[in-house]
Symmetry: C2
């Protein structure tokens, strides 16, 4: 239901009410744009929809995806707090975007972002350069890495984007599989193998402790 409202206008009151003052702004200054909340698996925008807005994650996580008609899905990127997304495509979104878990976003008009960026974030060109850079690394991963290398790189990437040796994964195994171009079974098996080799510890299926970061890095080369 929120999705429908979003498509017509993300500035609809229904979206800002829940947590407008519930969480403090995670960056200095008065934020521009509007804050919006999304539930788990709720669509933020769909493929081919007009690209009117640019988003910045305040809390939670977002996946941007591309689907094939037969159901195969590629997750292009996970976006965590601080990340900007919605820049795919020039006038229409080339990707779909969904909330991975409960997520709060900051929304600005695309035109405003292009001229000034988002408070506390990058300018349009900086943001695009970073995304392009990450996209290149992801291509290398998908094109030329083994399952084990992909999972190790994924864990190290998430560790860098959080902090410490404990990694809390906001997404399901299916999401990880669709991000790494693998099946859920292969991802699960690889986690188990890494645990057996004492490289990681699975405290729960969403909480991973990196026991041997150097060895994980060696796997990725």
């Amino acid at each position: 239901m929120q999705v429908v409202a979003l498509k017509s206008s993300p500035f609809s009151p229904i979206h800002q009410a829940p947590d407008e003052q519930a969480r403090p702004a995670p960056f200095a200054g008065e934020p521009m744009g509007v804050r919006m909340h999304f539930d788990r698996d709720e669509e933020i925008f769909g493929e081919d929809e007009p690209a009117q807005y640019v988003y910045r994650v305040l809390s939670g996580a977002v996946r941007t995806t591309r689907m094939l008609s037969d159901g195969r899905r590629q997750i292009v990127e996970f976006h965590v707090p601080g990340d900007v997304f919605g820049l795919d495509g020039e006038t229409r979104h080339a990707l779909g975007a969904e909330a991975v878990g409960d997520t709060v976003l900051q929304v600005v008009r695309r035109s405003a972002f292009m001229s000034g960026g988002i408070d506390g974030g990058d300018t349009a060109v900086q943001a695009l350069l970073k995304k392009f850079h990450r996209a290149q690394a992801h291509m290398l991963l998908l094109g030329r890495h083994t399952a084990c290398e992909r999972v190790a790189a994924f864990l190290l990437d998430f560790q860098n984007r959080s902090a410490g040796s404990t990694v809390d994964l906001p997404m399901s195994r299916q999401d990880i599989a669709d991000y790494l171009g693998l099946t859920i079974e292969t991802v699960s098996r690889t986690f188990t193998q890494l645990q057996a080799a004492d490289l990681i510890d699975l405290e729960s299926c969403r909480r991973v402790i990196l026991r041997n970061v150097a060895a994980l890095q060696r796997i990725c080369e």
Copy 2:
């Protein structure tokens, strides 16, 4: 030897002499920047080198690559006449770039490109958006497509970038394999299969005639 000269200064006379007036500018107006020639397999810039210049292909073709220490290579993109490249990375190149065949480039300083683009080409943001879009499509290809789908998509892509049903491939099978995340043998076998199915005709190994575009598109979904 030209490479060495390039690294110190692409405005060295050695680079512009050969074809400064040999080929007319393929777009209206006096081109900005300097024209440079590269031989087959000659390096244009290497990974991690300072990113001082932005390039536009005038003739020939360029591949941008990422290497792993064990020799595995991913070709991120092929650039044909009209394409801009060299925007990878913010201050240093994240990719290497090499000429696929004899190639003529137009070179401008990065700062000049960022403020004004290249004559007859896109602005910085437009160019980045297009590249990001293509990168997404390539990720889907690498992550979720079969060998047959990858080769079909590759041929259709090159047909769109040239014209007519005859596709002249400037690159070797090894280049195609490294672009599609396959081996040279699998690429070759797939070409043979497509020919056996009357979808393509291999006039020579570099010249492909698309006999059934609709069927090729159906393969890619």
